[in-house]
């Protein structure tokens, strides 16, 4: 799975990636050196929990994906089987293209995780 994340990191606009459990624990990470992996995963776990609550409260089914965009980049979270794939975006990222290119990686991770 590490290999998959490292390949994903070579996609233009990707600044790092990690796989985390729904409760915010990092499973596999490929982040830049010095990144606070546990802190990022915990923040994402909190965000996913809120997202799940939001979707349930509004009756729009299970939360499938999330995006956070900031002035200097952002992140995209996609489901990967029982876990989530979080992709950190550089400011140069093309969001639409990145989502298209990231989907097969999420599918491959889901396959590995369900084995």
């Amino acid at each position: 799975m590490q290999e998959i994340l490292e390949k994903l990191n070579r996609v233009r606009g990707v600044g790092g990636s990690l796989v985390l459990s729904p409760d915010g624990l990092p499973m596999v990470t490929a982040l830049r050196q010095g990144s606070d992996e546990a802190g990022i995963a915990a923040s994402l776990g909190n965000l996913l929990e809120q997202a799940t609550r939001l979707c349930e409260s509004l009756g729009i089914g299970k939360a499938k994906a999330a995006q956070v965009l900031a002035a200097q980049g952002g992140l995209v979270v996609l489901p990967a089987g029982p876990a989530y794939l979080a992709i950190l975006m550089d400011p140069s990222a093309n969001l639409a293209l990145l989502q298209l290119e990231a989907r097969p990686f999420a599918d491959r991770l889901a396959q590995r995780l369900s084995l």
């Binding site: 606070d36 802190g39 990022i40 923040s43 994402l44 909190n46 965000l47 809120q50 997202a51 609550r53 939001l54 979707c55 409260s57 509004l58 009756g59 729009i60 089914g61 299970k62 939360a63 499938k64 994906a65 999330a66 995006q67 956070v68 965009l69 900031a70 002035a71 200097q72 980049g73 952002g74 992140l75 950190l88």
Partner: protein, 289 residues
């Protein structure tokens, strides 16, 4: 005419404004100098990108010259930049009606009713279009249902008590002006409703959420907090937006300043980029910076 033109030209040079440019371009057209009018509009579009009227004038010139594709392109630019461009929507409706594209023509007439409820011209045209489409018997009913289904008139998107205190004082426009772009956002296809919330999760203005406004406002504020914390973890300040996609819908939220979050509940597959454009306009109108 010439002296008025020169006076306006000097004014535009010294104190450029969108309205002065528009007037100058119209005078150039009256002088039958369409090339000059086009130059003026193009310059205006560069200096005032949100001025839809410049694109309407460009469209009129293109349509008069038989350049229909260019005309339509300019008209789409006009309504994209200014969702309340009456002339833009009307000309688009006319163009689509002439092409027999009743659906698109009705769409633009409905957009007019969003910011100009019960506009007689738009209503008449809608009735005529539906009659021409073969629904003669249903025409009056359709027009009246359009009037009903149109989001509430300007200013009737619910501005909650105390909301005015949340909005910065510089937003001194009337409530109707403040909520028009918000109402237009809610009229976009696929949008189920929207709410503007403050940092405490209190509703500032809402539309179409049928009792879920408070819930969405509260949860949107929570998620904005969580998203801001996550962005900070990644070394990124200034959260701009977030999106949560569910199986049967999605919530898109846009943050313009430190005070307001605009959350939109929409169908899956809705055009997020278009909604963002509308949402930013609504936030500006509501006093965001």
């Amino acid at each position: 005419m010439e002296s008025e033109f020169e006076r306006l030209r000097k004014k535009v040079e010294n104190y450029p404004s969108a309205s002065a440019y528009n007037r100058l371009a119209e005078l150039a057209r009256l002088n039958q100098d369409d090339a000059e009018a086009e130059r003026i509009c193009q310059r205006c579009a560069k200096e005032f990108p949100r001025n839809g009227q410049a694109y309407v004038i460009l469209a009129e010139i293109a349509l008069a010259a038989g350049r229909k594709d260019d005309g339509l392109k300019h008209l789409h630019n006009a309504v994209e930049r200014d969702t309340r461009s009456y002339a833009g929507h009307r000309l688009l409706a006319d163009a689509y009606a002439a092409d027999g594209n009743t659906g698109k023509a009705l769409h633009h007439l409905r957009q007019i009713l969003v910011f100009k409820p019960n506009d007689p011209t738009a209503v008449q045209k809608m009735e005529a279009l539906s009659r021409a489409a073969g629904g003669a018997a249903a025409a009056p009913a359709m027009a009246s249902s359009m009037r009903r289904s149109t989001p509430p008139p300007l200013g009737t998107a619910t501005l909650t008590p105390g909301a005015l205190a949340t909005i910065p004082a510089k937003a001194a426009a009337s409530p109707s002006t403040r909520t028009a772009a918000f109402t237009a956002l809610c009229a976009e296809p696929g949008v189920r409703g929207a709410v503007v919330a403050d940092n405490q999760g209190r509703v500032v203005v809402t539309h179409g959420l049928d009792g879920k406004a408070d819930l969405l406002a509260a949860l949107a504020a929570e998620i904005t907090g969580a998203a801001t914390a996550t962005a900070k973890q990644l070394g990124q300040e200034q959260l701009a937006s977030w999106l949560i996609e569910g199986e049967r819908g999605q919530v898109l939220a846009f943050k313009r300043d430190q005070v307001l979050t605009l959350a939109v509940l929409a169908d899956t597959g809705v055009r997020a980029a278009l909604l963002e454009l509308r949402a930013r306009q609504a936030l500006i109108d509501l006093g965001g910076t």
